[in-house]
């Protein structure tokens, strides 16, 4: 459907640190700042972790412990598809009577896409359906853990030194304020707490842990390196046996060269994220906690608040000839919206890419509200709007079609134009102050957006 709608032909400009032009379907609207926000001007926060195949939720602490991998699901090391467990019946001798054999179920992992099985790498069939599969142990784990501990300690020590230096310098000025902030202000406080509190997340020792000195041995450089085998250059390559770079790098701790060493790994977890406006710190998008639910608790997408412009039909465009393009404007809210279009002025800084001039009617256009029950209500009276037939082509519930006149200015290339759309917006957030008599609760605010259209190449 996305290619049918061609959403990237109509771009809205987002004013922020970076000027971003993007289709309305990918933008968010901050109701409190009354501005459009794109993905780059919001802060992304991790809400929850879940496994994409078994849809199991995992708290963040557990996810961190398991290195963001699911406990039950495996990925095919060959094509990265999810592995499924299959069962076969194998004859096995009965425990009491070795002469007779009985059918027992044996389970193995298989990929439905590339037909890889766990028997390919020599993993024996397990007798339990889940939980029997182990990832291979990395021989360097111990050394890496020791190094990580050593560096954690080092980082902590450096932080304490830095804090102490800062405090030592400023002790004469504001001792009291700083002692609260760091918690280690005076010597007395430091001697009382067992372990210093470090601000580094992820590299901090637990409180109360003993500060024992960890010594690591430096790595020894070897003089002699193992020589390459003699037939390294002459041996013919067995291509199906060699792993591809992608397969190799997906397992960075082993990086196997041969396909017979490709063991399956646990599946990576995915996250649900929530978005927050950077200026006013309100949430723009907050998904449900349940991994099986695709709904949102808070969903301030721009499509629900801002009228959408879509290109309906484009005539043959010719150089320096004025032609009429038909656009549609759709009103997403339930009350009547007043929209005015006007062309960009000369020297407008936002107007970078236009290759055509546009002439729009300055009249105010009325958009009827979106009425969800309108299609079922047969006796509804059609609302009477006085439409100028030169400007408004058709009107259908909350949508109108408008004509704009486009004159391409460049002989070659795509025809792009831009204009400003001004509309009123009623904030439906509950008013904090109680409405007094005679006072209108909702004052409309007027928003202006810069819209850019890409109409395609000139007619030959």
């Amino acid at each position: 459907m996305a290619s049918l709608l061609q959403a990237d032909r109509v771009l809205y400009l987002v004013s922020g640190e970076k000027k971003i032009r993007s289709p309305l379907s990918q933008l968010y609207y901050c109701r409190y700042c009354s501005e459009l926000r794109s993905l780059e001007c919001v802060s992304h926060e991790v809400d929850s972790h879940y496994c994409p195949s078994c849809l199991e939720n995992m708290p963040s602490a557990e996810a961190k412990l398991k290195k963001n991998r699911c406990a039950n699901c495996f990925d095919c090391p060959c094509c990265m598809h999810t592995l499924s467990t299959r069962a076969t019946n194998i004859p096995s001798p009965l425990p009491d009577d070795p002469a007779k054999t009985t059918m027992k179920k044996a389970y193995y992992l298989a990929c439905g896409f590339c037909r890889w099985t766990s028997r390919d790498v020599g993993m024996a069939d397990k007798s339990v359906a889940s939980g029997g599969w182990q990832e291979p142990e990395n021989p360097h784990t111990q050394r890496i853990n020791k190094l990580i501990e050593y560096y954690q300690q080092l980082a902590q020590r450096e932080k304490v030194e830095r804090d102490r230096k800062k405090l030592a310098r400023r002790r004469t000025y504001m001792p009291l304020a700083y002692s609260e902030k760091y918690g280690l202000g005076t010597r007395l406080q430091r001697q009382r707490s067992g372990a210093p509190i470090s601000g580094l997340a992820g590299l901090s020792l637990k409180e109360g842990e003993d500060q024992k000195e960890i010594k690591i041995e430096p790595v020894q450089a070897l003089e002699e390196v193992e020589p390459l085998p003699e037939d390294y250059y002459t041996r013919p390559i067995n291509l199906p046996e060699v792993t591809t770079l992608r397969q190799r790098l997906l397992q960075p701790d082993f990086q196997p060269i041969g396909a017979s060493q490709l063991y399956p790994r646990h599946k990576h977890l995915l996250i649900k994220r929530s978005l927050r406006c950077r200026k006013c710190e309100h949430n723009l998008s907050k998904p449900e906690f349940n991994p099986t639910s695709i709904k949102f608790k808070i969903q301030l997408v721009a499509l629900n608040y801002i009228p959408e412009v879509r290109i309906m039909s484009i005539p043959n465009l010719r150089y320096l000839k004025e032609s009429q393009v038909l656009l549609t404007l759709t009103n997403p809210v339930e009350n009547i919206t007043h929209v005015t279009l006007r062309p960009c002025e000369e020297g407008d800084q936002d107007d970078l890419n236009s290759t055509a001039t546009v002439a729009v009617s300055p009249k105010e256009l009325l958009l009827a509200g979106k009425d969800a029950a309108a299609e079922y209500d047969e006796l509804a009276e059609p609302q009477d709007f006085q439409d100028d037939p030169d400007v408004v082509a058709f009107r259908k519930s909350n949508k109108i079609g408008i004509f704009i006149k486009v004159t391409p200015q460049c002989e070659e290339g795509e025809v792009t134009l831009s204009f400003k759309m001004r509309h009123d917006f009623r904030n439906l957030a509950a008013p904090i102050r109680p409405i007094e008599e005679g006072e209108q609760g909702n004052e409309p605010i007027w928003l202006t957006h810069h819209v850019e259209l890409s109409l395609g190449p000139l007619a030959p």
Binding site: F113, T117, D120
Partner: protein, 166 residues
């Protein structure tokens, strides 16, 4: 029981007893179908440039196309071109919508949905041509090869999936 199709008996379509060939399928030319082979409706077996011999136990699903056609740049001339026989072995599966023009197909192969096998390919045994893969090279596919993915990656499988029949 042989289900013979009264509509489609051309001069030389031989269907062995035990085969199930549906009425809605289209079979043209000189075709021999072995026992226990199932041809689903809307399958098409066209023997244009020569006869087709299909072995036992094959499964030809809907909208599959098995065609023995002329090579592209040779215009069929009645005298010159000698009809070559297309042979298909036993226990092969041609899934929905696949197109197979290979002249020689062995046993236990699977041509998955919407795959295309060209005229100059020879499938040996146990090969699996993945869904939507197009193999139009000029080669013999070694045994137990799996061709999968959008880039037609290949690997050798060690197991043949058990073929379950009715």
């Amino acid at each position: 029981m042989a289900d013979l199709n009264a509509k489609q008996i051309q001069k030389s379509v031989k269907i062995a007893p035990g085969a199930v060939v549906c009425v809605e399928s289209e079979i043209r030319g000189d075709v021999t179908i072995g026992p226990r082979t199932v041809v689903h409706p809307k399958a098409r077996i066209l023997a244009e440039a020569g006869p087709i011999v299909i072995g036992e136990g094959n499964l030809i699903e809907e909208q599959a196309l098995l065609i023995n056609c002329f090579p592209e740049n040779i215009i069929p001339d009645k005298k010159d071109v000698e009809p070559k026989t297309m042979t298909i072995g036993i226990n092969n599966v041609f899934e929905v919508g696949c197109i197979s023009q290979a002249m020689k197909i062995g046993d236990n192969n699977v041509v998955e949905s919407k795959a295309e096998v060209g005229r100059n390919v020879i499938l040996t045994s146990g090969c699996i041509i993945g869904a939507c893969c197009q193999v139009n090279t000029c080669e013999v596919i070694p045994e137990n090869t799996v061709i999968y993915g959008s880039g037609c990656m290949r690997r050798v499988q060690t197991e043949r999936p058990q073929v379950s029949r009715y």
